[in-house]
Symmetry: D2
Subunit: 413 residues, 4 copies
């Protein structure tokens, strides 16, 4: 599989390199935007588009904010036009009236983004533009509304049907691998040797989603350990001196790290089918693997304990285990959803809380965030559709008998 | 290059085959649509989506019309909600109000299409769905408005930036080549031998645009002959017994056939940069090629002559040439645009009318449509940006001195 | 898999095209051979080599015979030098003496072929050169000895370890598929539609061995039908109107046609592992396939019957079946090997005679060669190593109980 | 191009993994060799071959020497048989007698190697076997003659016509790149960051020859710097903080490091066309590059100076420059060839001595070996065929006027 992915990269990368824009004109960026939006010629528009992207990339933060101001102001919708159009449509819902309504209801900045995207290599530039937007314009600022237009387009462009799942291995291009090092957000990768330990041994796998127009940029990736039995310590799982298992011996796939890579794609959902697809692929390659679990951090456990007035240092292992179970099963946000974001992610995907471990992540970060506790969320094909419904519908946190018992133990205590 | 394209095909083709939907439930299709739109779970939604697509594919025409009725009716916008939302937005254009407006202004059928598209292999099925829509619902029927939603999505999905230009050659997969035979709309391809004459000789090229999610389906393709000098007869150009030129000897690239392939993508513009990109690619491969022209049919010439009361049979070659020039330069539709659709396409791309030929297409079709006349539109990098502006702005038909002279000759006659 | 093969083709094809030789000099071909053999410079030799190959390709048959004369005469070994070298080696078998012996014992024409082969694209030209040799020089002619040098080299170059097994499908390049049509030697392929019926349906497969330096040239290919049960009629197997089986339903893989493609590789064995490897690949893709058989012609049956004074027309089905069994099990050449060449091939590979069918090939060719009879040779992983030893050692024809019973029935009759 | 190469790798790598040998039998290795040589069955032989290779890989040095003993003794030629065969051939040079002679003159160990090589993945194992041979058996030991058989086969197998030139870049698989780090023999690569500086910037290139059956193993590679003008200091060339040139600005390609990778392919010549082919490829990509030179070490300069009684420390720059010129142009081995091995390599390829630099390699190694001096050998397409003849024929060292002037200056001094 690995060449297929490399090929994909190359096809698009080549296109990118070929079509470089001609030298910039003296026209202002706002002028170029006007040109691009007014021309019916795809070809002449291409040059304007290339310049706009090029100039945006070179702007400082103040310049970028001004650019976003322009998008938010001049390139927005006109309420009057929308009202006129919806009235006409209601009176006679014929195609022409509907077309006029759609035109009025869509701000020009959406069309601008589509036209910018015609330039070879523009997609990652537009993703970076949104990353700038999220960084520079506060979420409550009225101008932040233009992010909804980016979201609207990116949701179409990065539709799950357009993504490609690619294995990441020691055979992958160094240019991709260095991004895995950079983006790993859960258990940091120190060096190329550390990376190699995560992707080369027969019992280690890594998979990422890619978009054909951003072939060098993983969107999200998951690291997997193949094991016998369900592990309860990430340090043991990643120990430098462990003896690798042969892939055929494994009965369990452990998803021990999932990292989003693109700030500019925040909130665009494509991760929740990653685990499912990787599970299916692994199962078809290695039929003896029957258990699919995570070994997940609990990043908000100590924060919640502090709020609850619990001192982690005061708890022995048993008490910490019970407290962790209580946190996972009962701690909620205002909206009734679990307090912990990792919990929300996996439960939302249909996983259930399978087991709780103490002394499971003894790194500084692990101790600080969760007093060393970790949790296995289990992806059981038999139950996850139902789990998902119970969680999505009733906000019910499904858990194994063992974890529920911990809760009762605690209650009894 | 040819493998790159094949690889692309394979990557996606594989994904398609793997993820077959589970057996269908007893739920109605409308029920499944409701499930799909209401679930927040991408995974559980996937199954509903696969069934909806599967069922639609098996419907007869009456069933399909009923399906479109449902899209047009229940899955449309609500004018009241739109009005409420735009009023609130006008009062306070904050992100939350803008989000509510966008939600109200977008019909549920757009979200439906996006969710259907998450299924591997769904994109070509959705394109086929629109082909059915265009075939079954008359253009003036109010329900035809739902086509605007398809157009909206497809314009995003088939953005030029996501398309890949692939050469088509005798090295291409037979599965692709048979589609070239099937889709050729200008000069029919009789047989595999005929096809081979179009793609295998050194002085023949063919290029197509593909979308990564439809790797086996060319979207539009162009056939090119490399020649010395500009040819004036398509039968000579395609003669079975001609001696092929070596590619290095050629100074001219002749685009003698452009065919759209996907009924379901009608009106989604991606063809107008095809010729430009092919020209650039050829130029970089063969720097001696400096002239880029078409050898184009004039499909509405005799129709117009009949309207004008001119009997083609009564004209000698010179008169026919002059009449053809007059047609191309002066015959207009009500909106001031050229009468001939091929003319509108090439002039709209920035080409100009370069030369007119009689006895140029002596096939039955050529004689019937244009009394055997053909035209070269020329793509001159020096002038096409300006040509495009003159045509797009002033509807001016730019032509060479020679063709303009024919017009004056005629006028003088 | 199909792209992988296409890629392979492209890599080498490209190299070929790039390195075209400069224009030929006035030096004679024999002079160029001398230059090539005497230079120590790989680069300057390359030009001479390219010219030699180029010129050979343009020679008429008389010219080619003269070329072979030169190889046989001036570029052979010198018995005196061989004797001197072997005596010196016997006296002191040190490396230097061994090197001198190897040099004396190898004719210069072998080194010539190796140096010619350095030119990009030379390998297929050298294979074609041997095809000319086999065609032009009678087998008993003394000069035919130079074929042993080609054989020696080709056996090294086309070592099984260097070959690649590639599936041939409707996704394969037309340029490869047309060669399948041309080379099919058992059941002729009439047309592209006929070809498509052999490679496109889910229950039809085709595989070929390729060499990396001849990526567009299949060396040998096998056509496979996936069936339920073992078929007894090739016309039924290939019927145009048959309903294809889904690949998952099949329990049997039928090798119904094996064709060598390269006259210039006659006698270079690489076919005998083709069936084994294809069987393994199919088994790993489709575990339900457990039976691997051929449906083979018996090309010498009627010829043998004529020699034995048996008139096929006089035999009813039962008698023909028994006679065919007798032929397969008992008819031998002078050297004790089976009379029938197809039989020798499959038995030599470890297959056994599984079943005999009458009315199984009713084509003109089938009736003429074998009165319509065919045979299944079965490749049973459990027994083929033992079968091979029994056949290779004792020339024993292993057969199923049923076929052996036919023989006894006949004997009893 | 980079994916093409990766694909190549994958095709063969996959084959390797699939065909694992069954568990070993109790038969001795010599017995297995006998089985392999006596069987006519390719398939049954395959298992024996896989075991032989597997066992050899696990032998200690003493075991390997015993294995080589067996090859040298029992699997050699018989002088008596050779003499009988050559006499018969002389009496009647018919094909049968020639066949008998070829059989007698080729030791069984060559056929053994060919049969071992049929196992998927065997080629690199056989190359490693020869590396062991060269390491364990002294060159003058009589048993070292078996190396000539390896050489004979490898010369056929690694024929230039079978090699593929692949660019090595930051897009190459990490598994290949780590080998570049390991094999770099001229200017050591410290780290992944150092490697990246050698392959990622636009003005840095790297190319390697690969064999299709060893796709993960570069055979030889060259590192190239694109520069304006000819550089005279390797430290400046490789400086971490240098500003990269755009590839279009460069007029010179500097081959600053060439490294052989495979000890088991020592003496198998494929390197001498590497520079030529890389030059051609670069020229076709970047037509402005017109100068092709090396920046080469002079590894034996101080050694020779010591022999000549010259103390490097006593020389000023000018004197060192003149002495270096004298060394390069006049210092010879007993056979009249240049004293310096790097000199022999480049002059043998047709390069000439272009310029001499002092203070050019100030690393410890550079100071120790050549007192910091380096040399540019220039590959001039206009002169290299003639240079090669002058060097190969008359052992003449061709040098630029400037370098020759240094020599005269020295002589005059």
């Amino acid at each position: 599989m690995s060449i297929l992915s490399d090929v994909l990269a190359t096809i698009f990368a080549r296109q990118t390199r070929k079509a470089l824009p001609p030298p910039p004109s003296a026209r202002s960026t706002e002028g170029l935007i006007q040109d691009l939006l007014s021309t019916s010629g795809e070809i002449s528009g291409m040059t304007a588009a290339a310049h706009i992207l090029d100039r945006f990339g070179k702007l400082d933060d103040a310049g970028k904010i001004a650019f976003f101001d322009h998008l938010a102001g001049d390139l927005g919708i006109s309420p009057d036009q929308v009202r006129a159009a919806i009235d006409a449509f209601e009176a006679d819902p014929n195609p022409a009236n509907y077309a006029r309504f759609l035109a009025a209801a869509e701000p020009a900045r959406q069309e601008l983004a589509r036209r910018l995207n015609r330039v070879p290599g523009a997609t990652p530039q537009l993703v970076a533009m949104r990353a700038d937007l999220l960084r520079l314009i506060p979420r409550k600022d009225a101008r932040a509304r233009i992010d909804l237009d980016f979201q609207h387009l990116f949701t179409s462009w990065f539709n799950r049907g357009f993504l490609v799942l690619r294995p990441i291995s020691w055979e992958s291009p160094a240019a991709i691998l260095e991004k895995i090092i950079a983006y790993e957000a859960v258990h940091a990768i120190d060096s190329w040797d550390d990376l190699r330990r995560r992707v080369e041994p027969e019992d280690r796998r890594c998979f990422a989603f890619f978009h054909p127009a951003m072939p060098d940029e993983p969107l999200i990736f998951v690291e997997v350990a193949l094991t016998r039995g369900i592990p309860g310590s990430v340090q043991k799982l990643l120990a430098e001196d462990r003896a690798p298992l042969s892939a055929e011996e494994a009965d369990t796939a452990v998803f021990y790290s999932i990292s989003n890579c693109q700030a500019g794609l925040a909130g665009i959902s494509f991760g929740n089918s990653l685990i499912k697809q990787v599970s299916e692929d692994l199962k078809s390659e290695l039929p003896d693997i029957t258990t699919f679990v995570t070994l997940s951090p609990i990043p908000t456990l100590t924060k919640w304990m502090k709020e609850e007035g619990i001192d982690p240092a005061s708890l022995d292992d048993e008490a910490l285990r019970a407290t962790t179970a209580r946190f996972l099963l009962t701690a909620k946000r205002g909206d009734g959803m679990p307090f912990d974001p990792v919990s929300r992610f996996h439960l939302g995907n249909g996983a259930h809380v399978h087991a709780v471990h103490v002394g499971a992540d003894t790194s500084d970060k692990g101790m600080a965030e969760s007093a060393g506790a970790m949790v296995n969320y289990r992806y059981d094909p038999e139950t996850f559709a139902e789990n998902h419904e119970r969680f999505a519908g009733d906000k019910e946190v499904v858990a194994s008998k063992e974890v529920r018992a911990l809760l009762r133990a605690k209650a009894a205590a």
